[in-house]
Symmetry: C2
DNA sequence: CTTTGTCAATCTGTATGCATATTCCCCTGG
DNA sequence: CCAGGGGAATATGCATACAGATTGACAAAG
């Protein structure tokens, strides 16, 4: 793999993990010095990230980590909900034995993480769970789109850690989703997934709005 | 706007319009000479196109216009169907007067184009019609995703020109979709849009498969 | 004291140069 | 006549150089 691709992954990871917060300036020379390469591969990495929406570039004014407005964030979560619902619909129709096994395993992982009350661990397992659903759709393109959007929303997921009592509810919803998938109930699975993601979106946008308003005042 | 951005649009247009066929090699030096710039902005344009999936790059082996396998093409159309269904669901719920006007106007445009039996004109109006639905979802992000995927599938839409008797059927489906949207029937609108796009996907993949098999033999 | 204009420093965008990997062709051997 | 290997040509990927734009500060005027 080329330097540019490696750098793209590393920078993307730093954004997704929250090391680079939304709104951060991404100075090309600075990044080049930090990674020990010239500006060229850095530029190429940033351009690719810009194409996926993770960073924004203004002409002659460099790149920043995309800081989405609350209303756009809500739109992104709504889109995520619809895409996940679509994955659920297709997964319920096409579920293979291997998919069922992966889903129940992921569910067990969530349950175990919930028991430890380790929030970070739960979100790691949550990622595995949702990725399993994407894969179970047996539509590689849709699964890619879902994963990509999931990653793009990741910087804001960290904020959810502050919401109380969301985890047990999330777990219960997961159980319902898996039950519908295993039963092959397309509509039920789709609806359950849609509302599962939508409620997250609502909480997030509430949080964001609440965080922004005071700082603006 | 920078050279790279202009070039990205121009190259994208040439791909979408079919001037650059799927599978075509995109030689950096050649493109640089053709557009009268150095290789750098060409590279940046190609990288951005690669990030959106319109072109594919292999390390040290340059870029080609993405030539999707039939099964991936089917997956893309299936995804398009689900995304359009989601747009329809939201549009039916949120339809404003301006949206309704835009939809009926687009419908009239399709009808007029159909009457002239000008296939290209119909597809232009078809684009306007679908874009109106995307916008009516009142979700800017989802609408962007839909438009982006629509463009990505455009190179293959041209092939549909060969399918007979698709236009009148498409028109009838459009009428049904608008009726459901105006009536605010979410599920009906979503289902109508999903099958409207899915049948296109089926036809396309049939075509592709039919075109590929003889050439491979 | 505030505001505006100018200048300097800095950073982006593009061009060019160079090293290396790949590919294609030709030559040699069987 | 065909297959395999080696070398040259070519194209990519990265580094460096340069021009133009933006930003920030500082000074001067109101």
């Amino acid at each position: 793999m080329s330097h540019a691709q490696r750098l793209r992954q590393r920078i993307e990871d730093e954004i997704v993990s929250g090391d680079l917060a939304p709104g951060s300036r991404l100075d090309e020379s600075q990044l080049a010095a930090r990674f020990g390469v010239s500006r060229t591969p850095i530029r190429e990495a940033l351009l690719q990230l810009a194409a996926t929406g993770l960073v924004q570039t203004k002409p002659r004014r460099g790149a920043i980590v995309t800081a989405s407005e609350p209303h756009l964030l809500l739109a992104m979560f709504e889109t995520m909900a619809e895409i996940e619902a679509a994955c659920g619909r297709l997964a319920a129709r096409r579920l293979a034995a291997a998919d069922a096994a992966a889903l129940t395993a992921a569910l067990d992982g969530c349950r175990a993480a919930l028991a430890t009350t380790d929030t970070e661990a739960y979100y790691a397992e949550n990622y595995v769970f949702h990725a399993a659903i994407y894969r179970a759709s047996h539509n590689a393109f849709l699964a890619d789109q879902a994963l990509s959007l999931h990653r793009r929303l990741a910087p804001y997921r960290r904020l959810q850690l502050r919401v109380r009592q969301r985890l047990p509810q999330s777990m219960a919803e997961h159980e319902g989703i898996v039950a519908a998938l295993l039963a092959g109930e397309e509509t039920k699975a789709a609806d359950a997934l849609r509302s599962h993601v939508l409620v997250q979106g609502d909480r997030f946008t509430d949080l964001i709005a609440g965080l922004r308003a005071p700082s603006a005042a």
